[in-house]
């Protein structure tokens, strides 16, 4: 797959503090790339630099195969932090403004506006001023604005921030459908790990302005360590002592629950416990999630 976005050694300081510090980033076409990092990690600053909104101290950005800072924004749309609208105008009038800026006009702009309003479910409310819009509606209108020019790549900066659970789900579904159905490459920043795990195929973890780990979700979830199992047993302490240490490592005991690490399959652990005279009421693999990876990387 060709690259949609390549960032090399991107650096931006505020005073003596490096908000983005020699950041490398690579997004392939068709990716839903999760740009993951704690608050203040530099995600928003990096996106602003990539999109040419703020000056960068150093670094190169190739976007959709182009290095020219103006031309490379063709085919790109973005929502940075909270989207802004002319709140004294209606949603439709705001979309007209964006359409003209994007080079659309006349009946093709009218058609595009109808299409995007339909897509985000705002047809009924399009002729209201955006001043009265809720946060969720503003977020959807912002997506509509992004889709006007049929972009090939979309930058979304914490798009579910501040939304209620239903709004978050709608937004996730929308992002997934934009990637799957419309084939748009997406870079989505977030500090919500479950969200990234749910919609992204590739992830970069950024902290203090630097890329700390990058790869497919599957890669990152893969561990060098042996699998871990959660075992419940009435006499947990006795079981922990009875299990042969050469094949099983008991990581911790908490009441009647043990965490056991082993290279052997789960069936062997179960059989062995049974042979030793213990009955297990539960035996479950502990799945690594991005949160574990995240915490390991940041440690």
């Amino acid at each position: 797959m060709p690259q949609a976005l390549t960032v090399r050694r991107l650096t931006r300081s505020y005073g003596s503090r490096k908000a983005v510090d020699a950041l490398d980033l690579e997004v392939l076409e068709g990716d839903v790339y999760g740009f993951l990092g704690p608050n203040g990690a530099g995600k928003t600053t990096a996106m602003r630099c990539i999109l040419g909104l703020i000056r960068r101290d150093e670094g190169e950005v190739t976007l959709l195969g182009d290095t020219d800072p103006v031309r490379q924004r063709r085919g790109v749309a973005a929502i940075i932090e909270t989207p802004a609208f002319h709140d004294w105008m209606t949603a439709r009038q705001n979309l007209m403004q964006a359409g003209w800026y994007g080079g659309l006009s006349g009946s093709s702009l009218d058609r595009a506006i109808a299409r995007v309003l339909e897509r985000v479910g705002l047809v009924d409310r399009a002729d209201e001023r955006t001043r009265g819009y809720s946060l969720g509606m503003r977020q959807r209108l912002a997506i509509a604005r992004c889709l006007l020019g049929e972009p090939r790549m979309l930058f979304l900066d914490e798009p579910t921030n501040g939304l209620d659970p239903a709004g978050m789900k709608d937004m996730r579904d929308l992002v997934r459908s934009l990637a799957m159905h419309d084939g748009i490459t997406v870079l989505v920043s977030s500090h919500l790990l479950a969200e990234v795990q749910a919609i992204c195929n590739r992830v970069g973890i950024i902290d203090r302005g630097r890329m700390r780990a990058e790869g497919t979700v599957a890669d990152l979830l893969k561990s060098a360590d042996q699998p871990l199992y959660r075992v419940r047993c009435a006499s947990a302490v006795a079981l922990a002592e009875a299990l042969p240490a050469e094949s099983f490592t008991v990581e911790s005991t908490d009441g009647d629950v043990l965490l056991v690490r082993t290279a052997l399959p789960a069936e062997d652990l179960n059989r062995r416990a049974f042979e030793l005279g213990f009955a297990l009421s539960m035996l479950a693999p502990v799945e690594r999630n991005l949160e574990d990876v995240f915490l390991e990387v940041l440690a």
């Binding site: 602003r48 703020i54 973005a78 002319h86 800026y101 006009s105």
Partner: protein
């Protein structure tokens, strides 16, 4: 670029101050002929002389009054507010950021905003010219000093170009509507004081009230003279080419400054 201009024009003409300003232009244009007719009909005596002897009854007379009223900081104030809103306001409320995400260079965005401001200014002038002219012709016939008056209206647009440029420069430098309005106010007052000081120095006349806006006493290259550029070709004033040159220099310089500042500015 054409579409950018269209976008900025549509947006500007939707703003409340823009509509109020155009309404004001029409009102002044309609008011002045009515006032002149009323003065003449009532045989009003001004400074011991009948109005009919004071004012030639020609259609261009109320057109001049309307222009002078407009140029007495009225439309300048509206232009400054609009310039501040369209640039400083949009930096502040982040809508400029959304605009700059489009694949357009920043200088084009700035130029589109300037063209929109000047379009509004020109529409106001045309409305005023037409309304006062038509009513004036209705009342006094066709005889008048048409060339001077038309030139005065055109030069007013030139002068306002300089003011628009300065407003955009201050707007991008301060990024705040309030600071832009304040900055322009301070600049105009300092300019007035400077004009007064230069007058005092050059004539040796000591007692002179600096708060009287006496455009004739302003140094011709200063901003207050530039704002009166349109007036200066009318009877009773003296046109000075230095004022026209100053308008050009101020317009070009401020615009260049604004372009350079905006090019480097962080618009987060």
């Amino acid at each position: 670029m054409t579409l950018l201009v269209l976008a900025e024009q549509v947006k500007l003409f939707r703003r409340t101050p823009a509509r109020l300003g155009l309404g004001l232009a029409v009102m002044l244009g309609a008011l002045m002929p009515i006032v002149l007719v009323a003065l003449l009909q009532a045989g009003t005596v001004i400074f011991g002389v009948e109005a009919a002897q004071h004012f030639a009854s020609e259609p261009t007379r109320p057109m001049i009054w309307a222009l002078r009223a407009r140029n007495f900081f009225v439309m300048h104030a509206v232009l400054i507010v609009l310039g501040a809103q369209t640039l400083a306001g949009e930096i502040g409320d982040r809508t400029l950021r959304e605009a700059l995400l489009a694949p357009v260079p920043r200088y084009q965005v700035l130029l589109a905003k300037l063209v929109a401001l000047l379009t509004w200014d020109a529409v106001g002038l045309v409305l005023m010219f037409v309304v006062s002219g038509v009513l004036g012709i209705g009342a006094f016939g066709l005889d008048g000093i048409w060339v001077s008056v038309a030139l005065a209206y055109v030069l007013t647009l030139v002068a306002d170009t300089a003011l628009a440029g300065i407003t955009l420069l201050v707007a991008v430098a301060t990024r705040s509507v309030v600071a832009t309005l304040g900055g322009l106010l301070v600049a105009l007052i300092l300019d007035m004081v400077a004009g007064w000081a230069m007058f005092v120095v050059s004539t040796g006349a000591v007692v002179r009230d600096p708060w009287v806006v006496e455009i004739a006493s302003q140094h011709p290259v200063l901003l207050n003279s530039v704002l009166g550029l349109g007036n200066s070709v009318l009877p009773g004033y003296a046109f000075d080419t230095r004022t026209l040159g100053s308008a050009g220099v101020l317009a070009a310089g401020s615009l260049l400054g604004a372009l350079l500042l905006l090019r480097r500015a962080d618009i987060p």
